[in-house]
Symmetry: C2
Subunit: 294 residues, 2 copies
């Protein structure tokens, strides 16, 4: 209550357990390591390290996939005995011209092809931001874009997962910011074709969070964990390892489980310090925190 | 659709006019200069500069008020012919212990006294963050805190304005993040006693924005303008001068006006470059942009 930059209410990081919290996970069986967590490592290195540490799943990013080649990547993953929880990312539908929007849809079709080749459970859609100041216009372009790719994805057995991003990314990455809005975008389609990816970093603050997760039910196409660090600096790389921030992880997992979700849980952390860790240590820490804190 | 840090969808800052947009403001009659915009200047300097540039209103911060003294400040403001749109800020209700919560409520009473002395239209409430990982528990503390101060404020003729903050501040400044939630918090009280402050920076992204502003109606207790800059860096100081970012300012003003709001419009910008400007230039630029871009 002093200066504009004071933060009297800052979280003191003590935990508040509740009977709504999920029970601790018995093991790492549901863990999927999203390779964005090891941004500086190659896909083959991530595959090898995950397999060695008993991490059963990975999530693949397209820019890393391009370095390795989709055929080689699919073979390496299969040979290592890993499953692929998701391919990141499609989406980015809004653009200033019809030609550019068509090019984005075509690029999404290539992503769907890759997801099918990898046997990924879903293709994650980060929907994109407005090319101008018209955020509601951009939302309409997202709805159009999704409608344009659903038949192609269905034919190839690839489920689409719309990931609402934290409102801090509304200007640059996704005009779709809440689970409610993502749920509305799903409604024209079957749950097997289009669902919603729930990432705690993006949704932990939402006053409708518990109600929306319950309403999503079998629309939940993925669950991502990490943490929200305080004080927040750069909002993109402010994610932390589970347990290092303020997100009530067991409360939210309880909500997701009560909604019926039984799928893999991806660890996805964008953070310079995490990226600087040796890959071996990082995967080991991820696995440990997954069991202890998720 | 390349790396995790790419931003293909970044706004290109062209404008998309619509018939829903408000007409340009004819003059600066509704302008109130929030002194957080001139964080490095004293209150007497802000008062003198606003008066000289024909800015009719100011919003006062308590840490600056403490430097000047509330009696002196009230006299300076009155002598300069300025009105006070708001005093910033009360709130910050959640705390780990009952004693600390009681102290916060007592501090809010002092803020109400100051608002009454200044003749401020409202006391802005920034509600505070959870002292632990329990955001819904913090929300209950906020509701309790507001209920505790409403009678005191009503007796002194001070209206309370709940300001939902952008979700990026949920961990450090306000567990109240959406207009919908702020509206629910108001409902036990008369609109003359408790309303909602709509700040474009905090609400521009909200898919429920237009509907919520319409539902607020005479609950709108203040309207704040600034802009959301891209690329976003530090989310606290990412605000820009109106016209420099991606917020559709005339669209939102149209929504606020259709809801019936006719009060002052505060310019509140937290930004290091803005704070580095000479005060005279800053107030002149603010007045110009207010008429041209708000």
């Amino acid at each position: 209550m002093t200066g504009p930059l004071s933060d009297l209410g800052r979280a003191s990081l003590t935990s508040a357990a509740s009977s709504d919290d999920a029970a601790p996970l018995p093991d790492a069986r549901l863990l999927s390591f999203n390779q964005a967590t090891a941004e500086r490592a190659s896909l083959p290195a991530v595959i090898e390290t995950c397999a060695r540490h008993g991490v059963p799943g990975i999530a693949v990013w397209r820019h890393k996939l391009a370095d390795t080649g989709v055929g080689t990547a699919a073979r390496l993953i299969r040979d290592a005995g890993l499953s692929v929880s998701s391919l990141c990312r499609g989406g980015m539908f809004p653009a200033a011209t019809a030609a550019e929007r068509a090019a984005r849809i075509e690029d999404n079709r290539r992503a769907i092809d890759d997801a099918a080749t990898l046997g990924a459970e879903i293709l994650v859609l980060v929907c994109g931001a407005a090319p101008n100041r018209d955020i509601s216009g951009a939302r309409a372009m997202v709805a159009d874009g999704i409608a344009a790719i659903v038949p192609y994805a269905r034919e190839r057995g690839v489920r689409l997962g719309i990931e609402p991003l934290h409102p801090a990314f509304a200007a640059e990455r996704s005009c779709v910011t809440t689970m409610r809005e993502a749920r509305m975008l799903c409604e024209p389609f079957a749950p097997a074709d289009v669902g919603v990816v729930v990432d705690v970093y993006h949704v932990w603050w939402d006053p409708e969070r518990a109600a929306e997760i319950a309403m999503l039910g079998n629309r939940i196409a993925g669950y991502h964990v990490n943490d929200w660090l305080v004080p927040a600096k750069n909002v993109l790389t402010n994610r932390g390892m589970m347990g290092d921030g303020v997100i009530e992880l067991r409360r939210i997992r309880g909500e997701v489980e009560r909604a019926g979700y039984r799928g893999s849980i991806e660890v996805e952390i964008f953070n310079e310090s995490i990226w600087d860790m040796p890959l071996d240590e990082l995967v080991c820490l991820t696995r440990t925190r997954f069991v202890e804190r998720v």
